[in-house]
């Protein structure tokens, strides 16, 4: 079988912030009833953390869970283990009302690092990115210019962005433009 390759194969750009295409990331979209104890236990078993609160992302050593909507989670796991985890998840939830799919190859992941990261994102997304409002562990689905995207901020002040693979090039060019060294605004 051919080797899996991420959308932009780790392309990177350094401007006022560093934009990097992350490479392969395992992603499972999981729909179900958050209050169901079987569901909660299944999430704990797969990614090692509880169901996140509204618009949050929780992490553990083996994965992360992100709040996508009142009935949808995005589970982030190691790419090579995605199929195995998905099978385990389906087994654990069998008989309950749920949907779980592997969407790893349908998405592209980016990181934006550097002090100007907030500004780079604030210029292209209709989100209040003030440090008082948007903190580490916060997760948000929104749009980046003309495309749908989701992003979160980790403890190291790095922004992680997920978008559809088909628009990965657009996303990279957009972030690149926003992170141009001469395009600083200096708000945050």
């Amino acid at each position: 079988m051919s080797d899996p390759v991420s959308a932009l194969n780790g392309k990177t750009y350094s401007g006022s912030a560093t934009v990097t295409e992350n490479g392969l990331c395992g992603m499972i979209v999981l729909r179900g009833t958050f209050t169901d104890t079987v569901f909660q236990q299944a999430v704990r078993d797969i990614v090692g953390c509880d169901v996140p609160d509204i618009r949050k992302l929780v992490r553990s050593e083996i994965g992360s869970a992100a709040w996508m909507s009142p009935d949808e989670l995005l589970l982030l796991v190691d790419y090579s283990q995605t199929e195995a985890k998905l099978s385990a998840l389906r087994l654990a939830l069998a008989g309950t009302h749920f949907m779980a799919e592997n969407v790893s190859d349908a998405r592209a992941c980016f990181t934006v690092t550097g002090a100007a990261g907030r500004e780079v994102l604030a210029k292209i997304a209709p989100v209040d990115l003030s440090p008082v409002v948007f903190k580490s562990g916060d997760f948000r689905r929104t749009r980046f210019a003309q495309i749908a995207a989701a992003f979160w901020l980790d403890e190291a002040d790095t922004f992680h962005i997920i978008c559809f693979r088909s628009v990965a090039e657009y996303m990279f060019n957009l972030l690149k433009t926003s992170a141009h060294p001469n395009a600083g605004v200096g708000v945050y």
Binding site: I54, R55, M68, S69, P70, E72, P126, R140, R141, T142, R143, A148
Partner: protein, 119 residues
């Protein structure tokens, strides 16, 4: 710029993150209904100057449909509420009554109770 708070994810979403879904609280007339009922269901819409109820979808967000009550003249938003209802909830009606005494929209007004009956 219209800013609506999504009742599902709590985001104060601006218009560009939402997609409009037309008039709220329509009763569907499908197979078995009369031609007039079907015609009205398809084509007849309110076009008020003032209080209006609409459906919106948080398209670039959690993806959920919800309802919004707003004023078409001033763009003031009275509130947003769940899609799982066939009529505006009492608290939304109370907010509108406080700001627009004497308002009415279709068979809903500041004088109707939750069953749509005049008090």
């Amino acid at each position: 710029m219209l800013i609506l708070e999504c009742p599902y994810c709590g985001v104060k979403a601006e218009e560009s993150e939402l997609s409009a879904g037309g008039e709220a609280h329509l009763t569907r007339f499908g197979p078995g209904s009369s031609d007039d009922e079907f015609h009205d269901y398809l084509f007849v819409r309110e076009n008020p100057k003032g209080v209006h109820f609409e459906r919106w979808r948080h398209a670039n967000g959690c993806g959920k449909w919800f309802h919004a009550a707003r004023c078409t003249m001033t763009l003031e938003v009275f509130g947003t509420y769940s899609a799982q209802t066939t009529e505006p909830p009492q608290e939304i009606k109370d907010v509108i009554t406080a700001k627009r005494p004497g308002w009415s929209w279709r068979n809903v007004s500041d004088e109707t109770n939750t069953e749509g009956q005049r008090t």
